[in-house]
Subunit: 478 residues, 4 copies
């Protein structure tokens, strides 16, 4: 055991037997499916990093728990340096894959578990934290990838879990016994669920007394019995399936809906059951970590977009246009803002009772609020800089056609010194960066909706201190 | 002859024999190709309007030229009311098709021809305007659709037409004789070129002495010999081809690159050749009209997006969420801004020497600048309001699958009173509105790049008057 | 009688005897007070316009009521052309005074009265409209200026008028008799109340049954007994009082709080009393007209700001800096957006039962929403373009000092060909444009708070039609 | 010697004899002038902090140079912790004074000197660094305040220093001898020059060969012979002079133009003379540090604005209005963004050859770009939340008037439980926060113009790395 190579990682997935549907059909060979494989390749890069001399030090660290080197994606932060490393690794990965690498959500769950399971035990005398440590050892020793099962499908949003006509729209316990529990429900937007060995389930919202059956945290293998992955459509999904016009030559992303159609979970993998007051803690901690993660990887994605836009300026002969440079500056500024706030959130982290470090939630959410608004704007700027062929570039099949291909090569040519195929490839890549739904929608809704980020900074700010400062300067006695 | 029904329009296209490539293969049956047909249906709605009792008065007007009722898409404006009608028709069509209807560019070319060909004749004693009137009668009598061949592929953007290594990257005359001229080059982003009977070609930029061979305006049938349409890819193009998960149940858009591989044009259809100082006039007038058109149709598209977002709030149970209402207000505000500036540009129009009315270019460009920035933001807001399933909704094939379909129907259910299939359809439609590349990229680059719109309002504003007003108030004597 | 010259206007104010406080002291000579006079001069320009050959046709029109030429500021619109003229006059005045001319609010009240008093009579058989017509004749024949007494001080905003501990925080009737009514309360932000002959009072909000005493519309002379004007501070108010560093060499603005400390109003000047359901109508119509007015005058103010910024570029030697040109374009775009939406609101106006024309409220509010956000941004851009001396330019007294003055003239010199005093004057004017509180705060709160504008466009839009369009395209049967 | 109390600081200024003009007159008693005193009080708070038990640890640190505790405003950073402390102190001070405390610029000069004077010596074998250390000891031992003399008046911006008709518009050496140099010129926007003991002069821009006379760095006492401070006007300057309606009860800011009318500087205080290639280094390092400083203090100022706005919501009865809460969240978000990027710039600092630590310039400028745009927006939001009385609140003299004062107290009352004087004071404070020109213009132009910040992030970013990442993913071989 120990660190897996990227090849070993792919092999380990090949051995799993998840239940998968896509386009109305069962997918038996996940690893061999080009669309799913492109997502697996993205996560695979987190393994490759550990094989690369120049990055190994960044991604590999010794786990005090097993006293072995582990991939940082299985290492809850035990120091400020660990928090900072998360952001820097994510930005690097954003550069290396140009999309979502999909392994952060599992780590973000592990981080939340490392804090909250301990706190529950402190209050209730339960034994969740030791169970969590066992699970963590399992993850670390095998260098596994986990996925975050957080977002319930939710039914009617104006109703709480107990008020729903169908109680299953929030995942809950439908049976329990000596061995464990049986859960039912569905989790949406499960990025990379088939690139993962384990699904870690946390509650999707704060809960109150009477909602104990929904107050759940646990882990289940991604090929558990009665667990069904339905891979949703994304805008460019047939490109990978056809192996044509992919844009990103190797990497992509997919997001199944995962249905827990009465899945059994042994007690040893249950990290909360019924302690409703900690539901908010779990989802809050997870979300805060996840928003910090985004600050790194999305900055890295903007780096790719800036690089693509600047390259296209070189290819189009517009690299001296001052108005386009201004737009590139705007893009860079957005990347650095996401990154800066996320880094600051890390450097300003604090240690929790369990020993795990937690980031500053106000700064992490400040980063995420920018992401939710500014990624779309960065994409718009990239399209503006690059030109209209982002919309309607002929297919590589057209370029390969003997009649029309040479004509296209003639007419799509930009600057003399740039091979036309390079310009075509860069346009295709920009199309992917701009119009891949699974990726672009997560800029907005990943890590909770934009409103959640906003409410968090209001709730976590010391408003009374701000009021006192104002009153004092205005000459108002308290 | 006279007004065509929508059915007659489709039949008239069926009789044409254009040269078309898509995905590296020849397309023989344009009308029968589902992807192209979805675009044809959009343009078809401009014919349907004339068949609808409630809208006939808006879309049909009497042409003084042929003294018959014609579709307004073949009627250059002869009054302020005609200018205003353009905007209102476009907004209505935006509501009816939820995408680009593709017939405005032809009209915008006719409008530019109706002004500039006359002005050239006035200066040079040429006979372009009478030729244009003959062509216009041909368009009106047969109720034809035209497409704007304006955007050259341009090669190296830092070089002028004569400096390019390959002179063909700007369309130009390569031969001429008694009968007519032979032209060579390519026009990009030819929205609806196969939904059109005619291609009207105008120059893509201002020209100067020495560039006479590029100073060209003419019309050619879309199935001319040696004219090749290569239909580019768009993000959701396989949806229509597969007939699955289309989102918009009937309408779409496609954008070929059109190659003029030595196309013959008879003199009777040439409306400029060599009068370089009028190249800027042609492209400027066309662009100004086209930006006014966008102000209508894109407002209509936002209407659809607002309607989709509000419907999804109803379906999700979030219709009382004040933060979502605020976002809907932002969307409405954008629609009304586009529309208001475009309407104002129309009401403030002026008559040109030929008798045709021209819009106020500052106000028309003010509208377009908003479009270039705010459509992307409106889409972002729609996604924010609607939720994450815009990214990854399972396919209708999954819903149809007997094993997994019922589970999806159970878990995708929103509010109790809304059939789950309605919610699924609305998500699919939102995906189409948000992520169709042919449509969304035109928000940015349609009618010229954003910088062109900005420079226009600077150039067309009376800056000296503004300075004088400031100096006077500051007490500075002129 | 008939049209007043500007000199006659000032004389007419000199004959009035209002009760005025400023800086804790009574002001007896309103016209002779430099600060108030600068505001009077602004309104005076609306009279001067009628004396200027080139503008007379725009500002003077024949009133069908008295069959005489009147100033348009006393002419409720009886046609689309009248609505449009409002916007164009306001933009022109913005250019001529570089601040608020203060006469629009009175006209906006007259417009509201011309619609609503008629509608009340129609429903209740009251006789308000004839009274209004008499009052309008009085205004027209004497060419008087009126001020809008709309904004109550409101006390605790979470409470309605009847719930307030002090009932006087909403103006109400405290006594009534055969002759008339006695009213008590206070109206805030009464721009130009001392430049006006009459105060026209309308309710500040929608009212309901039980709030009859607050449902009031009437007119009172600005020097009525027990009517007290307390001129509030504005940021640069001592400049005019000291006659030094004024920036705008002639024009300014001031905003009193006006207290009705039991003011008697004869019945002939009461235009609503107790018809609570029309309170919303009065304030809504007034606000809609006022927002349309802003679209003109604020565009005109931005014109001045653009002119000032471009002039400063000339003076500083930065007129070729492309990034500054971009900022000037942004400013122009904001002006045209306000103007375009306001114009469109006018052209799309409709006739009301009384015969008066009403603007399109959605488009008028679309303009105002931009103003509330973008005027501050236009100011920021002007400061950015102009440079840091907007903050801290030495006083003209320093320039006049024999020791330090020559040194300042030496060091404040910009381009060689520009006299240093011109540069100094322009900086001073820019300071005035940027930092005059009475002016800049009205960009945000004038015509109701920004939220009011937003709610209006939501309420006035046809949301169901938008939903239907979306559902139809998505394939959802109604 | 050693740390000064705030009282000692004021006394030390009282002993100086600077040449000062304001409103065309000499000011002999700087400390006794209420307007200048309000600025001195702001800087005084940096001394008070060291007297406050709870903050002493933050502001006082041991200097290795003199082995004594010193105020951090005289301590160039020798560690990451020192860099971080700068930001946190500045945010705290922003809360404590609600305006600019004015002492950061001196420290930012000391930081630049601590890096660049060393680097010059390394290259040229000069002895600037030892001189600097002596000067630093002088500053530390006496706990002095310095001011940054960086911004030259610049004359015609399109011309370099040697091309100007008047060479004095860039400060330069006009004579030199054994004892030292004589300099002539003027520095603009010298915030707090009279609250300072020393003026530290650095070049204002990059220089090239032939411009040696302008390549200058030195220190001069603020009461040097022939050094003239002309205190410019700011929007609310007469408030402090009149002692009325100040808003901020104790603190303010002023910005003189400082004229060096042939000032002698001994060699021991010259830290560069003629090494033109280091001019860019000096101004660049200074600016980078200063932009980092702003990230702290402006966040602290927004804290005050948020506190003021929230308090006003309490006072007005609007604390439950969701749209106002959303605006408060926007304000908080801006503060945290400035702070986060500035903190990150500090944590990511690097050690320079002299041992001094330098911040990350991209992240520091990312913070400043937000400031330049978002402070104006934060002010706008504060005004929006607070209401129209920001524009035109009656004077405290009106409230004190026996006739009208009680009426104002009655009508200005908000919520029942809030004394009216508190509401009035808070409005006055908000007016100060929003409309003090010296403060608000520095949000835009402080630390260099917005364009300078933008160019810096473009120049300092690794653009080639971004392009490589994009090309690799697009499948383009390098």
């Amino acid at each position: 055991m120990g660190l897996k190579t990227k090849a070993e990682y792919v092999e380990s997935l090949r051995e799993m037997r998840p239940t998968v549907y896509m386009f109305g059909e069962r997918v038996k060979d996940v690893v061999g499916n080009p669309r799913l494989r492109a997502g697996i390749e993205s996560t695979g890069m987190t393994y490759e990093l550990a094989e690369m001399e120049e990055h190994r030090e960044l991604i590999v660290a010794r786990s005090p728990l097993i006293n072995e080197p582990v991939n940082r994606f299985n290492l809850p932060p035990a120091s400020i340096a660990d928090l900072v490393a998360r952001v820097k690794i994510n930005r690097l990965l954003g550069n290396l894959v140009g999309t979502c690498h999909q392994r952060c959500t599992g780590l973000d769950c592990l981080c939340a578990l490392a804090i909250v399971s301990f706190d529950i035990d402190q209050k209730h005398g339960t034994g969740y934290y030791p169970r969590f440590l066992e699970f963590l050892k399992h993850m670390q020793r095998r260098d596994l990838t986990a996925n975050a099962g957080v977002t319930d499908v939710k039914g009617d949003r104006s109703l709480g879990p107990c008020q729903q006509p169908d109680p299953d729209v929030f995942l809950h316990v439908v049976d329990q016994g000596e061995e464990g529990i049986v859960v039912k429900g569905a989790k949406a937007h499960q990025t990379g669920s088939l690139s993962s060995h384990e699904i870690i389930v946390l509650p999707t919202r704060a809960l109150r007394a009477g909602e104990e059956e929904f107050a759940l945290a646990f882990a289940a293998p991604s090929d558990s019995k009665n667990l069904i992955h339905v891979v949703g459509r994304s805008s460019l999904d047939t490109r990978e399936l056809d192996g044509c016009d992919c844009g990103n030559t190797r990497f992509s992303k997919y997001c199944p809906t995962v249905i827990f159609d009465e899945v059994f979970v042994p007690w040893g993998r249950v990290f909360m059951f019924g302690e409703v007051e900690f539901a908010r803690e779990y989802v809050g901690r997870f979300s805060a970590f996840h928003r910090q993660s985004h600050g790194g990887c999305k900055a890295g994605k903007i780096d790719c977009m800036v690089g693509a836009a600047l390259t296209m300026m070189d290819y189009n002969g517009t690299s001296q246009a001052s108005h386009l440079k201004q737009k590139a500056i705007d893009m860079i500024h957005k990347a650095e803002t996401l990154y800066g706030c996320s880094l600051a959130a890390s450097y300003e982290g604090k240690q929790e009772p369990s020993g795990t470090f937690f980031i500053d939630p106000v700064l992490a959410n400040a980063s995420k609020i920018h992401e939710g608004k500014e990624m779309a704007e960065a994409i718009r700027l990239m399209i503006d800089i690059s030109g209209g062929f982002v919309a309607d570039l002929p297919s590589e099949k057209d370029f390969a056609n003997p009649e029309v291909g040479p004509l296209l090569a003639k007419y799509l040519k930009g600057c003399a010194e740039v091979p036309v195929e390079n310009r075509v490839r860069m346009y295709r890549f920009i199309e992917k960066l701009a119009l891949e739904s699974a990726d672009t929608v997560s800029d907005i809704h990943g890590g909770g909706s934009p409103e959640a980020h906003r409410i968090t900074i209001l709730r976590e700010s010391d408003l009374e201190a701000k009021k006192r400062a104002a009153r004092k300067l205005a000459g108002i006695d308290d």
